[in-house]
Symmetry: C2
Subunit: 240 residues, 2 copies
């Protein structure tokens, strides 16, 4: 059997940031693929090196630079034959341009995937509540893309973000997933009271804090950045 | 930053068989790791090529040989610097000796991991109910190892295995995870009525059919081959 038998579109997934978000991406990639047989699923490789230094600290200049670790992972997957890369970590997208410049592979963009998912859910305009790490939100990563598409962005006050959003992310990273629900749900409630049309879970730990089955009780459209990126990856695999 | 910065024990995971089981392994590897920070989790790479031909059919000689696909995945991970390989698919272990002979890497054995997990749960002897694919069960893969350790194996009649166990596995592979619960639970109940001390979920689709939260209602010790293999991988990473 020649090596040519193993060709075809192979997705590279730069995970580990955190490890549960990368693993959950693989679960959702599988769950969201419409496949009649196991063999029709998306061939993928996940590079899960959780030793990548903390992204918010790296961006703030208070911690080690995570970029060399991310580039190393992307290049390993490039060598192994990946055809595109998905990065299930929103904050990592602060290094998107440098990563895309460091590889010949197409790098899917999580924020553009979220915008596509807003449209898919029929939300073509309106007020969008944003949740994420302080680094993601203060960088304007989401605001630039959403405002360019005509959306209005709504953020919670810093103290609420710190008290609820950052706390929920912290608990997920400590494997305290159930305890992460309440602070994340509180963020969604506070945004809903501000009359938003949707809430973007713009950190890949937040979808883990808010299991799909419990989202209807939040009573507002929730845009899940893991699911949005998985849908973009499936579309890439299908040749879209 | 030199490449030497990225060394350290890296786990290779030969997934894709099926893709949800491989993804779930990554979730459980993370959930079962005792880590105070994200960076302390196990560095891992997952090779998830779901195009690997069906293992039971390949073993029966009625379908394409999956072995070259498995070996290709292991060798890719070897090239990328993996230090050991875990294979979250029980039936794939019918090719364990050939795979281990085809790589210089240590290959963890899922059946030995299950035996270690029986001991960890305090079940040092007794009657063990076995669930798995027809190929896994008819090959004696589990029976040889368990009987050598002094356990007695209990199997359901073929017609129950086909009607409930194979059906549950089939539904998981079709992403019908909720519908997979009842036939898997029925297998466990039938074995419990035969007075077993534990039931081994000896196919990595079965733990997906029986979510951890619902297992206490089954009222018998359940040995999860995904969790057992994840624990073995964590022990390997810790140098055990």
């Amino acid at each position: 059997m020649s090596d040519s038998a193993f060709t075809g579109r192979f997705l590279g997934v730069l995970g580990g940031m955190g490890p549960m978000a990368g693993a959950a991406f693989m679960v959702r990639l599988t769950a969201l693929t419409d496949a009649a047989t196991e063999q029709q699923h998306v061939p993928a490789m996940l590079w899960s090196d959780p030793r990548v230094p903390d992204r918010p600290a790296g961006y703030a200049g208070t911690g080690e630079d995570p970029f060399p670790w991310m580039l190393h992972g992307v290049r390993q997957m490039e060598q192994m034959g990946a055809g595109a890369v998905a990065i299930p970590c929103n904050t990592a997208h602060l290094w998107y341009d440098r990563l895309a410049a460091g590889t010949s592979l197409a790098v899917l963009h999580i924020v553009r995937s979220v915008v596509a998912d807003l449209r898919r859910q029929g939300i073509a305009q309106g007020r969008i509540g944003l949740l994420g790490t302080a680094a993601t939100l203060s960088s304007g990563l989401y605001q630039r893309e959403l405002e360019a598409q005509g959306y209005e962005c709504v953020l919670l006050p810093q103290e609420d973000l710190l008290r609820y959003c950052a706390e929920s992310i912290r608990r997920v990273k400590l494997n305290q997933t159930e305890a992460a629900f309440e602070p994340a749900a509180q963020c969604v409630r506070l945004l809903r009271r501000q009359g938003v049309d949707a809430v973007v879970l713009g950190c890949t730990e937040l979808p883990l804090a808010l299991p799909h089955g419990l989202r209807p009780s939040l009573d507002v459209a929730v845009i899940d950045s893991i699911d949005a990126l998985a849908r973009a990856a499936i579309a890439w695999h299908r040749g879209g």
